[in-house]
């Protein structure tokens, strides 16, 4: 493989992995607080469409990202009201959010389907971007790529080094104990759910404003679900989320590069395109086959409703 091909594949892998990192880290915080929100796909779709619309009208992609974040949070709030205040089943509510979000995004986004946005230029970090092979790929990237790294480091610190992170984990592991020593379990869960929604919205915004500067129905294409699978794959650890996301990014990109390479291979493009989905399944199987890893690592109260005065 020649050097420029390596650089461009690495570049594309990082880009493809970035929305997965942002969304999956958001979901990780959700799940650490004991809340399972399966609605990521819907929150991403709404984030994508809101970001696209606002960027299109304002010409400012950053306002777009903010709008995407807001849309994701609004969807998450809906989920929070259902599951935290009204104690609805988390699985059913999450599925509802996924179906609803994808539908609402298709509805809202209809007028924008034929519109294209201007590509947002990458941000070049001085000096290290000049490194051979990896410099151009890693340090001449979209701002949200750097954001995903910052998010990773902050979460690592937050979850394992800060008091607030400890409280968050306590709420996910033993909500009644956390309540007994005076922590507002429901309020903390709301914050975690809103954070998850914000990240899903930003992930969606990345897709429609930075990755492919356009909106089309089906743009999210299962990335929300893949992000959910990533959290399981990562056994609720941020570092493994990063590794997993780039792995998936790599699979997506390899498949695109093979299709675009003009190599005369006797393999239909549609079947190549299904590779990331198969990869998700294979990885899920590989990680789940040891039931103990999952049981020991998943937050104990994940998916269970909690009511303080019951």
């Amino acid at each position: 493989m020649d050097a420029s091909l390596f650089t461009s594949m690495l570049f594309a892998t990082v880009v493809a992995g970035t929305p997965l990192i942002i969304v999956a880290l958001g979901l990780l915080v959700n799940e650490k607080a004991g809340v399972l929100n399966l609605g990521a796909e819907g929150m991403m779709a709404m984030g994508a469409v809101a970001a696209f619309a606002v960027t299109h009208h304002s010409g400012n992609p950053w306002l777009g990202v903010l709008a995407g974040m807001g849309a994701g949070m609004a969807m998450a709030l809906l989920f929070g009201v259902l599951t935290l205040t009204l104690m609805a089943n988390q699985v059913a509510s999450g599925l509802a959010l996924a179906i609803f979000g994808v539908g609402l995004a298709a509805f809202v986004g209809k007028p924008y389907e034929a519109v294209a946005l201007q590509a947002v230029p990458p941000i070049r970090i001085p000096f290290i971007a000049d490194l051979p092979l990896i410099g151009e790929a890693l340090y001449n990237q979209q701002a949200l790529v750097y954001f995903s790294w910052a998010l990773f480091w902050s979460l690592l610190w937050f979850l394992h080094r800060s008091r607030a992170g400890l409280v968050l984990r306590a709420v996910g592991e033993a909500p009644s104990s956390a309540h007994a020593i005076g922590y507002p379990v429901i309020r903390i869960r709301y914050l975690a759910v809103l954070f998850g929604g914000a990240m899903a919205g930003i992930g969606g915004a990345f897709l429609s404003v930075f990755y492919t500067p356009m909106w089309a129905e089906g743009l999210v294409a299962g990335r929300g679900w893949i992000a959910l699978a990533l959290v399981v794959f990562a056994t609720w650890r941020p570092l493994r989320v990063m590794v997993g996301a780039y792995l998936f990014g790599g699979v997506m990109i390899t498949q695109l590069f093979i299709q675009g390479s003009g190599l005369q291979i006797d393999f239909p493009s549609q079947l190549l395109s299904s590779l990331p989905y198969w990869a998700t399944i294979v990885v899920l199987v590989a990680i789940s086959r040891n039931a103990n890893t999952i049981r020991l690592n998943s937050p104990v109260s994940l998916g269970k409703p909690y009511r303080p005065d019951a």
Binding site: M87, A88, S93, A96, W225, Y277
Partner: protein, 354 residues
């Protein structure tokens, strides 16, 4: 100040009323949506909810749309009752369509009366086979069936699009992504003259009855209910969790596959890349709104079908995207999930302490 107070036991009355409440709230929400979009709410209501069912043809179209929803939902409900979360009915639906199309294309030109039954069997088997993947991975490797069955929806869509763009493309189809039209012997006979309502509808009704009998009258169905409501009791009684996962997924897959077969051999008459039109996902809503029981699913599938057709009407007469159907469907499920709180809790007015 309003407060929620736990009931001593779940209210049976509320579990009947809550779907009705959800429908009423959805209608009210729908009027607000129309108003927000600058349409006359009354006019919108008339076009969306009444126009589709004003004559016999409209009603037959409603039943036609309800058919796949009913089939997918009853299959899903069996699994959901045992906490087997098959979310991939959409993919199983497509594989049913693919398998049935395979039979139809292989025996092209055949006029045998056995062709249609063979397609029905193939459709159900195709759906069940696709559902067996998450079942196998769940029972053997503990892999989450929600995520696996969902990933397989995307795979199924790509498989269909490969078939209709590639090996199964109609050579005389002007390069459209579709197969040849099926011959008469491979098409579902119409059961109501001058409409498109086909044999799939009575079949779906029969499957509903069978689903009811399985869930409420059979020992296997009883075990699945216990497993869903009291997992510990089921484990203590020695009910095999693996067997329930297999039953839930295979029955769900077979029913969804049958629905897919009914679409290609019914209104479509061929396989196209648009075959999966969201019925598998909408059926999740149908199953919940129908309270996971057969009669409820019958009503809920009619309601959901109305939302689909209403969306088409809204597109035609109100100039709104037909995706508005999904907005209404989502609202319906949210309102249902929300109003279900009253099954276990009652609202109480409590005075603030002075």
């Amino acid at each position: 100040m309003l407060e929620l107070e736990a009931r001593a036991e779940p209210s049976r009355l509320m579990s009947f009323l809550s779907p009705l409440l959800a429908v009423v709230l959805m209608l009210a929400g729908g009027m607000l949506v129309f108003a927000a979009l600058g349409k006359d709410p009354v006019e919108g209501f008339r076009i969306f909810f009444l126009n589709p069912v004003k004559d016999l043809y409209g009603l037959s179209e409603l039943l036609l749309k309800a058919t796949p929803l009913m089939l997918c939902a009853i299959g899903l409900a069996i699994g959901f009752r045992a906490n087997v979360w098959n979310i991939g009915a959409e993919g199983q639906f497509m594989l049913g369509a693919v398998a049935a199309t395979g039979v139809a294309l292989h025996f092209e030109g055949s006029e045998s009366a056995l062709l249609l039954p063979a397609m029905i069997v193939a459709g159900a088997a195709g759906g069940a086979a696709w559902a067996s993947i998450p079942a196998l991975l769940r029972t053997r490797f503990n892999a989450n069936e929600i995520l696996v069955s969902l990933m397989l929806v995307y795979v199924a869509q790509l498989l269909v699009s490969w078939l209709v763009f590639g090996p199964w493309k109609d050579p005389d189809g002007f390069n459209f992504p579709q197969t040849k039209m099926f011959g008469d012997a491979a098409l579902m006979p119409v059961v109501l003259e001058d409409t498109r309502l086909h044999l799939g509808f009575p079949i779906a009704l029969a499957v509903l009855v069978a689903g009811y009998a399985f869930m409420n009258r059979s020992y296997a169905g009883f075990r699945m209910r216990v497993a869903g409501e009291a997992p510990d009791a089921a484990r203590y009684a020695g009910f095999s969790a693996h067997r329930m996962i297999w039953i839930g997924l295979l029955l769900g897959g077979a029913a969804a596959g049958l629905a897919g077969m009914g679409e290609v051999a019914g209104p479509m008459g061929q396989l196209t890349d648009k075959v999966g039109s969201g019925y598998g996902f909408a059926a999740i809503i149908v199953a919940f709104v129908g309270r996971l029981n057969a009669f409820g699913i019958l009503l809920a599938s009619l309601l959901m079908a109305l939302l689909y057709i209403g969306g088409e009407q809204a597109q035609q007469y109100l100039n709104l995207p037909s995706a508005i159907s999904m907005v209404f469907q989502g609202m319906l499920l949210f309102f249902l999930l929300g109003s279900d709180v009253f099954i276990n809790y009652r609202l109480r007015l409590r005075r603030r302490a002075a």
